[in-house]
Amino acid sequence: MLRKVVTGADALVRSLEEENVEYVFGYPGVAIAPFFNSMLDSKIHTVLVRHEQCAGHAASGYTRASGKPGVAAVTSGPGATNLITGIATAFADSIPMVCITGQVDSRLMGSDVFQEADISGACESFVKFSYIVRRASDIPRVVKEAFHIANTGRKGPVLIDIPHDVLMDRVAGFAYPVSVNLRTYKPTVEGHPVQIKRVIRELSRAKRPIICTGGGVHLSGAEAQVRAFAEKHGIPCVSTMMGLGSLPSEHPLFYGMVGNNGQKCGNRAMNEADVILMVGARVADRSISQPDLITENKVLIHIDVDPAEIGKNAGPTIPLVGDIRHVFDEFNAKELKVDYSEWLAWLDKYRAEVKAESEKRLAQGIADRKVRASRDYVDPRLFIRSLSLAMEEDAIYIADVGQNQIWSCANAVIRKGRFMTSGGMGTMGYSVPAAMGARLGAPDRQVVAVCGDGAFQMTMMELSTMDQYEVPVKIVVIRNYVLGMVRQHQHFAYHDRHAVTDMSTTPDLDKLAQAYHVGYMRLDSNEGMEETIRAFLDEEGTSILEVFVDPDDLC
């Protein structure tokens, strides 16, 4: 039986129940205490993270794995400011979530009292919307609206800041609104029929079209629709980093990731194409370094739910505003007779050449390193490929930020699973807490986080949370005792002057794993790689695999 709603805090908990929230990732404090007090009587689980930033990443990981907006709740002041990186990371990747912050009593707001921070002001530029709740009776409406805003249109985090007295205030009953009444907020979901016809006409004229998928394809849940369209007409696909996995990595129509960290084949395919369908991608600096060029001699069709993204970085020939799933349902229903087999044959030939060349280099590289290094190292490319192939088919692969991310993008084979990473913000330390959230959001799926030894140390305290709540996550720490990505940048841009990238005295991960009651394994060389990966993935519970790579290795 549902508990009686007496206070604002009760109303908040009941509202979350109405939204079918399963988990609240949070950290208590005086200002948010009434909320957690009411949570004790709820069926919603709380997860006490060890740092508020991780509440944000865990909620975001939960969202990406489950498709439902994750929830984080923290206290005022430092609790709220610690959460900011989690919010900003989610915002940069358009991940819907609802963040609740306690606030000092309303009558004290603005007077710089203990643990007061203007969190809605501080988060202004990286939330989709924020509320400061002034009346307890507003709570059900605010929560209803927050979930709606977060999870529709261009998705993103919404902040709800609630003063302590509002949580404590008595309310007269509880009624959860059936619908939202937001007059100013009406995202365009259905693509304009005229624009859809223009796209189809353009494709019927195209000789070398390409579909470039971005994170929007996942956010819309349009993977199947996009794939069906590509397969039906034989249209080759590439993806941005955020779009990885929208087609399986080894799908014959998938030609790789684009961008300055992308693959040769993917970029060449983009360059050779005459019609580009940019789908749920921002045409951002990392994927398209010269946006002016992709509109030169090319037809750019830009499909996005956010009209402000269309034309921001490159002026499209055909803009099409709408939700990708709806738009591709329309595409799939349209007559289109095309034959791009010549183009596909050209791409396949090129891909085979690139593959042969890279395999040769890989073999050569391993041989080189064996001679040069005093000890053997693991080849990260080979390792990541083997790891991803040994993972369950629908496993979730979470890459952190740094060299590990680039190696992951290029080498992880994604089949029916998901690839997640902090693409927009590039937040180090994302993978471990996100993996925890993802596993809770998809309890039947294997979740593997891959991070460097730098990023790992930013959020490794969450091992304790995983231990406490028995969340089994596999964590690979690519160990090189340096901040590899920056060091690589120093190699190219600063003539190997390695300023503050040395981490030679990092903790003994074996002992650390023991301290946190999680498993530990290590891999020093390519020898025994398959067996070690197998044993690591088969081990019950959370475990760490420490993989030693050459600090001079480049991604």
Binding site: S120, E124, F129, I149, R154, N181, R183, A308, G311, K312
Partner: protein, 182 residues
């Protein structure tokens, strides 16, 4: 090429809405030449007039990014040929008895009013488009201007073509199209 544009925004009259709009301009590096805000005849709605400048791409982005703010109901350009702009300026000029008449004459030419007089100063109130205010200030520059307050541009479209109304349910509609049935 840099162009100047006047945008009219209709926004929900909520706390922080002006700071959300202004904050968006500053963090994305858009220009604000002037901004003025005030509640409309409908107390739920505030009208903001922003004078901004940029190239075509920037101006398009401004319109789209502002439209995306959740509490913005409408943004559209007030095109010069279809709109009326006004600005109010209060100009305190140093003028003793011997100079007073000359200053008042200038003010009269610009249909300005003298709203305060002291032994050594005159306070002139003038309204008009920004060009007119600038011209008056240029002419007064021969005298010492002690204080100046300008309100920024407020504007409205001419006629009834582009009027945005809000019905009692809070739905936005075009006056010319009539109130929606729904």
């Amino acid at each position: 090429m840099q162009k100047k544009k006047v945008f009219q925004l209709l926004v929900d009259n909520t706390t922080g809405v002006l700071s959300r709009v202004a904050g968006l301009f500053s963090r994305r590096g858009y220009n604000i030449e002037s901004i003025s805000a005030g509640v409309t005849a409908d107390p739920r709605i505030t009208r903001i007039t922003v004078v901004t400048s940029g190239d075509d791409d920037i101006l398009e982005q401004i319109e789209k990014q502002v439209a995306k703010l959740v509490d913005v109901r409408d943004i559209h350009e007030l095109k010069p040929e279809e709109s009326v702009y006004r600005e109010l300026a209060m100009i305190k000029v140093k003028a003793d008895v011997s100079q007073r008449d000359n200053v008042i004459t200038l003010a009269n030419i610009f249909r300005g009013n003298v709203i305060d007089v002291s032994e050594e100063s005159l306070l002139i109130e003038a309204t008009g488009n920004s060009g007119k205010i600038d011209a008056l200030l240029r002419l007064l520059s021969g005298y010492e201007i002690l204080e100046l307050a300008r309100t920024g541009v407020a504007g409205l479209g001419r006629g009834t073509k582009n009027i945005i109304m809000i019905n009692p349910d809070g739905q936005t509609y075009r006056y010319a199209d009539g109130e929606p049935e729904d």
